[in-house]
């Protein structure tokens, strides 16, 4: 379908829009695609939440109470561990000593030097 400048385009028509009608800048078209997929996306991408996440890289949360209760609950089974998504910092993820990076006991030489 022919698209007119200024028309509101649903996400599925955007592929056509980009090729046929240059008056909608590609960046705006991409923005519309994103908003269609994630309607609850915050208004300020560069704002506080986004930057705070960047500043908190590496943060692990540990509550000894949670840890001991989880250990007690599972006394016959394995200790709770990180699971596949190690970057999850809230909720059920309880960092355990097993999750912490192990100090390298021997030096593995870089393959660039091989």
């Amino acid at each position: 379908p022919k698209c007119f400048p200024g028309a509101q385009n649903p996400a599925e028509d955007l592929e056509d829009t980009q090729e046929k009608d240059k008056s909608i800048p590609p960046e705006r078209a991409e923005e519309a695609k994103l908003k269609a997929k994630y309607p609850n996306l915050g208004q300020k991408p560069g704002g506080s939440d986004f930057l705070m996440k960047r500043l908190q890289k590496g943060q692990k949360y540990f509550d000894s109470g949670d840890y001991n209760m989880a250990k007690a609950k599972m006394k016959n089974k394995q200790l709770p561990s990180a699971g596949p998504d190690k970057n999850l910092v809230t909720g059920d993820h309880i960092p355990t000593p097993q999750d912490l990076p192990q100090r390298k006991s021997s030096l593995v030489t870089s393959k660039l030097a091989g």
């Binding site: 960046e27 991409e30 923005e31 994103l34 991408p45 560069g46 506080s48 930057l51 390298k104």
Partner: protein
């Protein structure tokens, strides 16, 4: 065979440079261990040494072979000179913070004596490493055997003076200074002052000034942390000292601005002397505008007259005398502008590309995806796209320029945007300070290219 000059959109000062594969370092296999991911590449001031840092906290230094007079068609190769573990993973129990051992930056000190010195940093700690050669050792001790065991004193009947005898070259790296506990946030840059006595380290919100001899003190010279963290709107992304003016430095931000500061103006340089910012067309503003304007690297030209910044889609050259817009803008991969939605979803939009100048400041280089890298000749205004790939590894064969087809009919030998491999990113490149020799890092391999001689 070979690529004829007239078919090439070549980049080169005066006569176009013809780039040829020289060497590739690293494992061939596709299964890349995290530790092997290269995180920084840097030539030293003479270009004789080339250092790499990786995610596993290791540094590998290559040394250029002495030129062989009989082999006039190629320059010396780079071979492994030294390798050592610079940083180890740590856990800050007080703050519950995991500290990666990844080497974020390496910067060489100019050579003052027989030894070489470099600074390497991870997110929290900067270390000064001394790399020295040992090519002789004392032999002929009276009380010790050659293997170090002590002799029975009763068997010693004569006295002799130990002498130095030549031995196989041994290169030793030792940490001489450890500069720790000065950064709450993650260090992104280090830069050595032209006075060769001090250096700066920058994290997301603060910049500190150190003296190379003093590890228990550093001075905070920039602090952009707001009183209320809810009001945080931008972070520091890179910082560098001016190459000649020892009181001048710049820092770039996630909002696409660069601030030039003069340390003579005040102890705390929170107020900039100059603010470099290109005005934005408000009608073009989108959700992505700020993210793609974030500057991932800033580098002064060797002359000190210009600085170059890299944002997600472009490289900009700024004249230090003009704050309101760059003097040159080069599009690295403009075809990605219509892919920003998926690049946001796969996090590629946050990739931090670096950029570099050639020795004469006439050409700039930066990386892209699909193991492509780009060069822009500032004089001829020509640009070229090349690929770092083991398929092109015949020495002295000129690299074939690459072309990405943005839309429409794809010509033969072109690659369409949708076929690009976004996992193959070239974030780190370096240019020899004097020669046309470049080091290009793919995820886990280091490529060295040279211009074709004669």
């Amino acid at each position: 065979m070979g690529w004829k000059m007239r078919k090439q959109t070549g980049a080169g000062g005066g006569n176009d440079i013809q780039w040829c594969f020289s060497q590739v370092k690293g494992a061939v296999d596709d299964d890349v261990a995290e530790a092997d991911i290269i995180s920084t590449v840097e030539f030293n001031h003479s270009g004789e040494l080339l250092a790499t840092g990786d995610k596993g906290g290791r540094v590998v230094i290559f040394q250029q072979e002495q030129e062989n007079k009989t082999q006039s068609h190629s320059r010396g190769e780079y071979n492994v000179y030294s390798t050592f573990q610079s940083h180890e993973p740590e856990f800050d129990y007080l703050k519950s913070l995991e500290i990666e051992e990844k080497i974020n930056k390496i910067r060489w000190l100019p050579q003052k004596n027989a030894a070489q010195f470099l600074l390497s940093t991870n997110d929290k700690t900067i270390k000064l490493w001394k790399i020295s050669e040992r090519d002789k050792r004392p032999e002929g001790y009276n009380l010790k055997e050659e293997d170090g065991r002590y002799r029975d004193p009763t068997t010693v009947t004569t006295l002799r003076v130990p002498v130095f005898r030549p031995m196989d070259l041994m290169v030793e790296a030792s940490p001489r200074r450890i500069f720790a506990n000065a950064h709450t946030y993650h260090i992104n840059s280090i830069s050595i002052n032209s006075d060769y006595e001090t250096y700066l380290s920058a994290d997301d919100l603060r910049i500190n000034l150190w003296h190379l001899e003093i590890t228990d003190r550093s001075f905070n010279i920039v602090d952009i942390k707001p009183a209320n963290m809810e009001e945080l709107t931008e972070v520091i992304t890179a910082a560098e000292f001016h190459p000649n003016s020892c009181s001048t430095f710049v820092y770039s931000s996630s909002k696409g601005t660069i601030r030039l500061c003069d340390m003579r103006a005040s102890a705390l340089c929170d107020r900039h002397s100059k603010l470099f910012e290109e005005p934005e067309d408000p009608s073009n503003r989108s959700f992505f505008s700020e993210i793609i304007s974030s500057i991932s690297d800033v580098k002064f030209s060797h002359s000190g007259r210009y600085m170059m910044t890299r944002d997600y889609l472009s490289v900009k050259i700024w004249d230090l005398n003009m704050e309101n817009r760059p003097v040159e803008t080069y599009q690295v991969h403009e075809y990605l502008r219509s892919k920003l939605c998926s690049l946001y979803e796969n996090d590629c939009i946050f990739d931090k590309f670096e950029c570099c100048w050639n020795g004469s400041d006439s050409i700039v280089m930066t990386g892209s995806y699909n193991n492509f890298f780009r060069m822009f000749d500032r004089n001829s205004k020509r640009d070229i796209t090349l690929e770092a790939s083991r398929e092109n590894n015949k020495p002295r064969t000129v690299l074939k320029p690459r072309k990405v087809c943005a839309s429409g009919k794809r010509k033969k030998d072109e690659i369409s945007v949708d076929s690009l491999d976004f996992n193959k990113k070239i974030l780190h490149t370096a240019w020899h300070p004097k020669e046309n020799i470049i080091a290009v890092a793919t995820t886990n391999n280091l490529y060295i290219f040279q211009d074709k001689m004669n």
